[in-house]
Symmetry: C2
Subunit: 289 residues, 2 copies
């Protein structure tokens, strides 16, 4: 059996959006091997019910555990919102979601609030960001509920996946979504979905230069680094340097969707090679792990 | 065992869009019992690969067969494009898709073309509408390929599901999608997705009063009536009138999604009551029928 610390980190997402998280992890932990699973056959999760998302997340995480990962990263905000506690109870490895790191980064970035969160209807409806911001974290006091503003943005995922980042309709839709947060005076805005970093420039333009944008991919990568160090699970050869300049990237998807090569490269920042397709039967079996 | 002709008609779709087809069937065949299955847990199909859509469609149709239907209607254009032949081979009951009825109606409505088709990337990419329009149907000559214009419209489904039918951004997106078809001079436009009838007014405004819009829901209902009559599968009590004014409607969904009540009522034209949720395990078992 491979020594625990030399096993890969597993990352799953509802689709390709989580590649922004993979990219951030690869940048921060360049020596670690990374295994990605995207549930492209059943994407999106953000408009679906809690039980469905939990059932899917159990299969997704089970698949990664079956591939021998040392840590499961839930890159999808909606899956983090509905399934993180459940996965932490049932999986034999540590599990990290994107919500707590995002809350941490937002509370550090804010100059007293209000703090805004944009996300899918599922993520916002779950109330997890709101709870996290209200409770605070060790050393970071929480916010009163009237200083937390949220926005459901169901159309941003399809716009990014259609490649319409620069289209004037996207600007019009962003204006509709962001106007209440801007006039509400937020000083910090959490981009609570893995697709939104691809709209960061447009969102920054709408919010103005004084609003800090918190990208959960970056915050998550930092949290993963800390957790692995705490658990003594960092790769040794990576830490001693020299011999192993770059960890491997491995891709598993439940479907090869429309414009996969183009959309995948946009999220990852480079072309995706060597993708393995996971069958329906394999997903079902993974949920029984 | 129930007499064949008294069994219900089964209708499935990737989600709630197929309710526009259910509605048209209920209007045209008011005495027939109708059973609807929407695969809301895995919607949309329109951006996913052929094999995935075929695997899903086999489960969806298998579920309806398990419920004792006498006819399976594939309301989803993408599933009709990728899976109709396959379902017709494996199912023990007749199967009707939406593409041939749409082609038939368009060839009848056209004054010589060009004919346009808008649909999801999957439907358009499959080439099924293009093949059908080029081949023609008995008594209806086909069109030369240069008189068939198509448009992939991946954003219209999310816009309709978000309830943004009247939003100016929807108009801007429609203009981008429809402009090449309008300037290409189409005299007939097939609305090749069950969501598009909800945008019929807006689409008509963009295309102008001289373009005939073909709604596949209406054409499908007519085709179902003809097929059932040909096979002697119409309900008898319905045909003799009086006693049985209205057939029942039954709903099965794989997820209760965001804004279900609101979106469902918009598609069906009235509130949906008594929904049964179908589990992942049940879907898997249905695919083995």
């Amino acid at each position: 059996m491979t020594e625990d610390r030399n096993r890969p980190i597993g990352v799953f997402d509802s689709g390709l959006g989580g590649l922004t998280v993979l990219r951030a992890l690869h940048r921060r932990l360049p020596c670690e091997d990374l295994v990605y699973f995207g549930d492209t056959a059943r994407v999106p999760y953000g408009t679906k019910g809690a039980r469905t998302v939990r059932d899917f997340a159990r299969q997704d995480a089970g698949l990664l555990v079956g591939l021998g990962v040392k840590l499961v990263v839930v890159a999808c905000n909606t899956a983090s919102a509905f399934a993180l506690d459940h996965l932490q109870q049932i999986l034999p490895v540590p599990v990290l979601g994107v919500i707590e790191p995002g809350v941490d980064a937002a509370l550090r970035a804010s100059r007293g609030g209000p703090v805004g969160v944009i996300g899918t209807p599922g993520t916002i409806g779950s109330g997890r960001y709101q709870e996290g911001l209200a409770q605070g974290l060790p050393g970071l006091p929480g916010l009163s509920p009237d200083r937390i503003l949220v926005g459901e943005c169901p159309l941003l995922v399809p716009l990014v996946e259609a490649g319409w980042v620069e289209h004037p309709a996207t600007d019009m839709i962003l204006e509709t979504y962001l106007e209440p947060l801007r006039t509400g005076g937020v000083d910090t805005l959490i981009l609570g979905c893995t697709h939104y970093p691809l709209l960061k420039g447009q969102i920054a333009r709408h919010m103005g230069p004084d609003v800090a944008l918190v990208d959960s991919a970056e915050s998550l990568a930092l949290a993963a680094e800390t957790l692995l160090a705490d658990l003594d699970l960092r790769r040794r050869d990576g830490l001693t340097g020299g011999e192993r300049p770059s960890g491997s990237l491995e891709f598993h998807l439940s479907d090869i969707p429309w414009k996969f090569a183009e959309i995948g490269a946009r999220f990852l920042g480079k072309p995706i090679t060597d993708v393995r397709t996971v069958s329906l039967e394999e997903m079902e079996a993974a949920g029984r792990l």
